[in-house]
């Protein structure tokens, strides 16, 4: 009997919405959470807008010690994990801890704390040899994002395979894909998986300023993230986390768990082209889609909904549109394709998992979220992007795609099982 991974719980910390219910309300209302940056003074920056999470760790059950120890992105993950565990109630008492794993994605990890401490230790960048005595006691935990999966493992009581996945902006898809494979390959029975990011810090914003990848629509932040629109001008930085509880299907069935969907197929490829550039044709992303569908034993025409990478850069939107056409053929013109980055921004490594949570909710509710701010499509982008307004639409098979710096191209297929 082939082992399969099913989703039995989700948790979300997103800009403008903490908790899966609030998140889904925001998306289906087509509301945008993009605004002027408040987390630091961005006056001198080219892009001064972001999708921020209004987050008080104490309000979400983290004590003072946890709040001090965990970097902001880890706090997001801990809160999302707690929600996902409550939603799923996985049978942790029956599954040996050695068979419980964690697979969490992040692109830039503890950047925010690293930078904050660095500024203190270097007299605002003046001293190359920093003053170690000015470091916070938890600094060593910021250098290496293995701490993200470690903290979630502590929370869950996992003692099996615990890993952080860091493939840039596809981390959130890859982490979940690897988690499902760990279950398929009999390395674990339960895997808590997802991704987290808190990159709204000067250095992370500045590095995207430097290559003009982010939007500078500073006068109109609510409408700045405009995937597939003629007037788009880059992505809007976001932050957040999403966590999914995956279980081996027979265990979930036996305990009568509410099975939300199956993680049916996953594939990832490098484009072997450029660290930030994309070839228009989208061949590698298309290949990831085709392979993920093959692994799910689904055909292109089975896909009911495509959750797009849809970052809102010209090159991404065209690359991705071509990749979807290349992989789904004529069916690409019939299937709804939407980008929630229009509402919650682009939270780098986290967004892939947040988008998978959106796919789960779309399957649950029979509604697909819209692409907000899409009023005049780019003529080169000619698919059905569900502009502005959410749509009632039954989804049995959802496809989520992602693309990231480093050339990473990933695809995950969710379905209701066979």
């Amino acid at each position: 009997m082939k082992r399969e991974a099913v989703v039995t719980g989700i948790g979300v910390v997103a800009p403008g919405a903490i908790g899966a219910t609030a998140f889904w309300d925001l998306l289906t209302a087509g509301r945008t959470a993009t605004r002027h940056v408040t987390l630091f003074d961005a006056t001198t920056f080219r892009s001064r807008i972001a999708a921020e999470v209004d987050f008080d760790p104490a309000e979400h059950g983290l004590d003072e010690e946890q709040a001090a120890r965990m970097d902001r992105y880890v706090q997001f993950a801990a809160v999302a994990a707690a929600e996902a565990l409550a939603d799923s109630a996985p049978p942790l008492a029956e599954v040996p801890p050695w068979r419980v794993g964690v697979s969490m994605g992040t692109a830039v990890g503890g950047t925010t704390r690293l930078e904050r401490d660095y500024v203190e230790m270097s007299q605002e960048g003046a001293d190359w040899v920093v003053d170690r005595s000015a470091a916070s006691p938890h600094l060593y935990r910021a250098l290496t994002p293995s701490v993200l999966s470690g903290e979630i493992a502590e929370l869950v009581g996992a003692r099996g395979p615990v890993r952080t996945v860091s493939t840039g902006c596809t981390s959130g898809l890859d982490a979940v894909g690897y988690a499902a494979q760990a279950i398929e390959d009999d390395l674990a029975d339960v895997v808590v998986t997802g991704a987290a990011e808190s990159p709204i810090s000067p250095i992370a914003m500045a590095c995207f300023d430097a290559i003009k990848a982010t939007s500078d629509s500073n006068d109109d932040p609510a409408r700045a993230s405009r995937p597939f629109d003629r007037d788009r001008n880059g992505f809007v930085m976001g932050e957040g986390a999403a966590v999914l509880v995956l279980e081996e299907a027979s265990i979930a069935r036996r305990r009568g768990a509410r099975i939300r969907c199956r993680v049916a197929g996953f594939a990832n490829h490098g484009n072997a082209f450029h660290m930030t550039g994309l070839r228009r044709e989208g061949e590698e992303m298309a290949r990831a889609v085709t392979t993920a569908l093959d692994r799910a034993r689904r055909s292109a025409t089975d896909v009911d909904y495509v959750n797009a990478h849809g970052s809102g850069t010209v090159q991404n939107d065209r690359h991705e549109t071509d990749a979807v056409k290349r992989s789904l053929g004529e069916h690409a013109r019939r299937v709804p394709v939407s980008s929630i980055k229009s509402m919650v921004g682009h939270s780098l490594g986290a967004i892939g998992s947040i988008e998978l949570a959106a796919c789960v909710l779309a399957m649950d509710t029979g509604v697909v979220p819209p692409t907000a701010n899409l009023s005049a499509p780019d003529p080169e982008c000619d698919l059905d992007y569900v502009p502005v307004t959410a749509r009632e639409h039954r989804t049995d098979v959802a496809l989520s795609v992602g693309s990231g710096f480093g050339g990473f191209q990933s695809a995950v297929v969710l379905d209701r099982g066979e």
Partner: protein, 403 residues
């Protein structure tokens, strides 16, 4: 599905290349030296294992050098050697070969320069390569691009065990249709004072200033480890694929397992590492009597060493030769497990157990190989690794004639 290693490359404190690495390791040479680039008085660490005289321009095209940190240079150079060594044809089908290079600290020296530029000059002083040099995925991405490899491309951050976990992950990738995986670990955490300050915060670095006594794992004088830099990359393939193309099989990856032991403490009690070792041996279908040598994690703190020694005594009641070549050059984070895997492959090939440098005796009830290399019939090696983030991993490597 049997995963085999058909190519190997290293950049280590012994220099570029596996030949020099094996010479130094098998002789038990000490490669530990003062941290050369800046005054580390405030960091309570004075010594390191640095790659000597490394000039990236000797090995890598300028356009790649300028947009990457040293951790990616080491990875690219080790990958070049591994690919050459494997004789793999990567040109026919770009999707046939994937890449998975692990790192703990990413391009931290590059990052420190850019953060300094930002805070002293403003956002427009940050260069265009910060977005692609600092993040943990930089090495996998650049190796994919530089070598035209479009197979499964990934990055794990599991600290020192990274390479061991990458070998485990490669089995899943090969089973799903990738023909070959370029897997490794790479780290360059020494050139940035800020990086050293981060490492020093965990209170596990040796403060010693005598290269002969600063890193003495499994001894009563153990007082932390010496940080190091370096990389190792291997080409992993399915045995059948490798044989069909007439490749030289350097070692069989017979089993892998990983467990979690808690954040910030190197698996207190050793139960996690023990479980990982047993898991890897079970998957390899072997028992304790089949293991001819253990490459120990050897953190070099009294507690972590005692836990590992106790776990080894429990797993091998009849004893087993144990070694820790890294005592001669330090602990290179994601490069550490990778360089241990490389040492184990070379050890099986040469039928020689390299000694644990600097250490003259081991009062911890282990058969620690010290002072001189030990010639022995070696069929099976067990490699162990732990990370401060909580990961414990074990890999069983077997000589291809005895797998």
């Amino acid at each position: 599905m049997t995963v085999v290693i058909t190519g190997l490359g290293t950049v280590s404190p012994a220099g570029v290349g596996t030949d020099g690495y094996w010479d130094a390791v098998s002789e038990g040479r000490s490669l530990i030296a003062p941290i050369p680039d800046f005054d580390t008085d405030g960091f309570h660490v004075r010594l390191c294992g640095k790659v000597p005289g490394f000039d990236p321009h000797q090995h890598i095209e300028g356009r790649y050098v300028v947009q990457t940190d040293a951790f990616s240079w080491f990875a690219m150079v080790a990958a070049d050697e591994a690919l050459r060594d494997s004789g793999l044809d990567t040109g026919t089908d770009p999707y046939a070969t994937g890449v998975l290079i692990c790192s703990c600290a990413g391009g931290v020296e590059f990052g420190q320069h850019e953060i300094a530029a930002l805070w002293s000059g403003g956002p427009d002083h940050v260069g265009p390569y910060q977005s692609i040099a600092w993040f943990y995925a930089a090495s996998t991405g650049q190796i994919s691009i530089r070598n035209g490899l479009k197979g499964m491309c990934g990055v794990l951050v599991t600290d020192e065990p990274g390479m061991l976990d990458a070998l485990g992950q490669s089995e899943g990738a090969l089973r799903r249709g990738t023909s070959a995986m370029l897997v490794g670990g790479s780290e360059a955490p020494l050139g940035s004072p800020f990086s050293l300050a981060c490492q020093a915060g965990a209170d596990v670095l040796s403060a010693g200033d005598d290269p002969s006594s600063a890193y003495l794992p499994f001894t009563e004088r153990a007082s932390g480890y010496v940080p190091a830099e370096g990389a190792a990359v291997a080409v992993a393939e399915d045995a059948a694929t490798a044989r069909a193309r007439g490749a030289r099989i350097r070692a069989v990856v017979a089993g892998h397992a990983s467990t979690f032991g808690g954040v910030g403490a190197f698996d207190p009690g050793g139960a996690g590492l023990l479980h990982a070792a047993r898991g890897a041996m079970d998957r390899a279908g072997i028992g304790p009597d089949d293991v001819d040598v253990v490459f120990a994690d050897a953190v070099g703190t009294p507690k972590a060493d005692a836990d590992e020694a106790a776990m080894l005594r429990e797993l091998f009641p009849g004893g087993v030769p144990v070694t820790a070549p890294k005592a001669g050059f330090g602990r290179a984070y994601a490069g550490a497990g990778a360089l241990d895997v490389a040492a184990a492959v070379l050890s099986l090939e040469h039928q020689v157990i390299p000694p644990t440098p600097q250490v003259s005796d081991a009062p911890c009830g282990l058969d620690l190989v010290v002072r001189v290399p030990r010639v022995a019939p070696l069929r099976t090696a067990l490699v162990l690794s732990r990370g401060l983030g909580g990961g414990n991993s074990a890999v069983v490597l077997r000589h291809p004639d005895h797998a």
